[in-house]
């Protein structure tokens, strides 16, 4: 009977690819719930992947809810930028303002972006794809989504998934590299700590001047750095608590849910199940490792140059991945000497990494625009 066959068209249209992607969605949800890997993003991504891979699913049709969310905030970059306002409102640049030379460690921690980009090129990805894969090395979700969506939107799904999954793996990925590259003796170095006074004026002027300086040099970075610093300005101003609250909570939560679902919806079997995705998974790990190694080696170099009491471990915090990376630095330092506390220096490097990641994202886009 014709009716029945149309009725169960769903079962008929079900492919092995869909089944596999539903399993992948389930794995993401498992990682979110059981392993607690960035659950606020991986759970919606997993759910989106399942909903998008059910056969004939209306959620990804013309007027499907996930398509609406995608158009409303992913295609036009609105959602990652709004999340940046919230991140800025939650970030305390105090430790960085006390030790601004940490900014250099943040710069070093972005090498993974460019190294991975080059490796991806060698592996046969075209230049746009390679840059998008490289940007996983920003180790910053919204930046990865922002840049890859502009350069290679068809890779958005795997890149976002890799970016957020690996970010939770920082405590597993970094320590071996740290132990391999930094000697025991170096790991035991104590760093004197004295709080430098940072006035409210400086805290307020910092986000404004960073926006202007970066904006003048790299216009392509204005949306990213501008929104991050807008959030921070609102927080430090102390006069717009209502807006800060809205950015941190209402906007951040709602947008995170919508963003996760919309990204999950890009993981449709016919797009996701490619050899490229596997390569991206591998290149993602590579990017994280290269970032860490570059940060550590540059910190070693800085120590050699300055001859001051600088524990090279804090270089690992320059990758961004706030605040996981800073905690990993503290943990590895304490393994050698329980009374060694590097957390504040690591925090400085960590927020430097965040700013550097955003700038690096803008630089990549600018170089492409100048191509």
């Amino acid at each position: 009977m014709n009716l029945l066959s149309t009725l169960f068209a769903g079962l008929a249209a079900f492919t092995w690819g869909n089944a596999l992607m539903i399993v992948v969605g389930g794995v993401l949800i498992y990682l979110a719930i059981v392993k607690e890997y960035e659950p606020v993003l991986l759970l919606p991504i997993g759910a989106g992947a399942i909903l998008a891979n059910l056969p004939l699913s209306p959620v990804i049709g013309e007027d499907g809810i996930l398509s609406i969310l995608y158009k409303a905030g992913v295609a036009n970059e609105l959602f990652p930028l709004l999340i940046f306002v919230g991140i800025g409102a939650m970030t305390d640049f105090g430790p960085l303002l006390e030790r601004p030379h940490m900014l250099l460690l943040g710069a070093a921690g972005q090498f993974g972006i460019f190294g991975t980009l080059f490796l991806a090129l060698l592996l046969g990805f075209d230049i746009n794809e390679a840059a998008s894969i490289g940007i996983i090395g920003a180790i910053d979700g919204p930046t990865s989504i922002y840049v890859s969506n502009l350069l290679a939107p068809h890779l958005l799904g795997p890149i976002a998934v890799v970016a957020y999954s690996y970010m939770s793996l920082v405590p597993i990925i970094q320590p071996p590299i740290m132990r391999a590259l930094i000697t025991k003796k170096e790991r035991r170095i104590h760093m004197p700590y004295s709080e430098n006074p940072v006035s409210r004026r400086t805290r307020i002027l910092f986000p404004i001047l960073v926006t202007i300086a970066v904006g003048l040099l790299v216009p392509m970075a204005i949306p990213l750095i501008g929104m991050l610093m807008l959030g921070n300005l609102m927080k430090e101003s102390g006069v717009v608590q209502r807006l800060v609250g809205a950015s941190e909570n209402e906007i951040a939560n709602v947008v995170t849910l919508f963003l996760g679902l919309a990204i999950g919806a890009t993981m449709q079997a016919q797009v996701f199940l490619k050899f490229d995705t596997l390569l991206i998974l591998i290149l993602g790990i590579f990017a994280f490792g290269l970032d860490t190694a570059a940060g550590l080696l540059f910190a070693k170099f800085l120590r050699w140059v300055t001859r001051g009491p600088l524990n090279p471990l804090i270089g690992a915090a320059g990758i961004s991945a706030f605040p996981m990376a800073a905690r990993v630095v503290q943990k590895v330092a304490q393994e050698e000497d329980f009374e060694n506390f590097l957390l504040m220096h690591a925090m400085g490097a960590n927020t430097a990494g965040q700013i550097a990641s955003v700038i690096a994202g803008g630089v990549v886009l600018a170089l492409f625009a100048a191509k």
């Binding site: 250099l104 090498f111 980009l117 590097l342």
Partner: protein, 122 residues
């Protein structure tokens, strides 16, 4: 320009630009720090002068009270010293999330620098 060439250039220029911009920001912040320190130094000078002026009429304080105040002051100074030099800006509000880490870090860090120093004194 081939993709590989462009990629290589991206790597060199990109990394260079990132370093350049961040070094520039370092410079900007350093200038701010200088300004902050000068202003703070001036403010402190004023505060000390005011304190000195205020201290003078203390002559008519009964000796018992004076002793108690001196003990308290001494205790405060020791505490203040153990807190390390330069702690001047007021404690800032705590946000959930990372700010907790910053606070914990600050506490740890201060301990970290005190403990060894004390040891070497012994």
């Amino acid at each position: 320009m081939s993709d590989l060439q462009f990629g290589l250039m991206l790597m060199l220029f990109g990394m260079g630009l990132v370093f350049l911009i961040l070094a520039l920001l370092w410079g900007v912040i350093a200038i701010f720090q200088q300004i902050d320190r000068r202003i703070l130094a001036k403010e402190e000078e004023k505060a000390q002068m005011a304190a000195a002026a205020a201290a003078e009429p203390g002559a008519d304080i009964p000796p018992d009270l004076m002793a108690a105040i001196l003990v308290a002051l001494d205790r405060y100074r020791q505490e203040a010293k153990s807190r390390g030099p330069g702690r001047r800006h007021p404690p800032r509000e705590i946000e959930p999330g990372q700010a907790r880490w910053v606070a914990v870090g600050r506490a740890y860090q201060l301990r970290s620098n005190i403990v060894p120093r004390r040891r070497s004194q012994r």
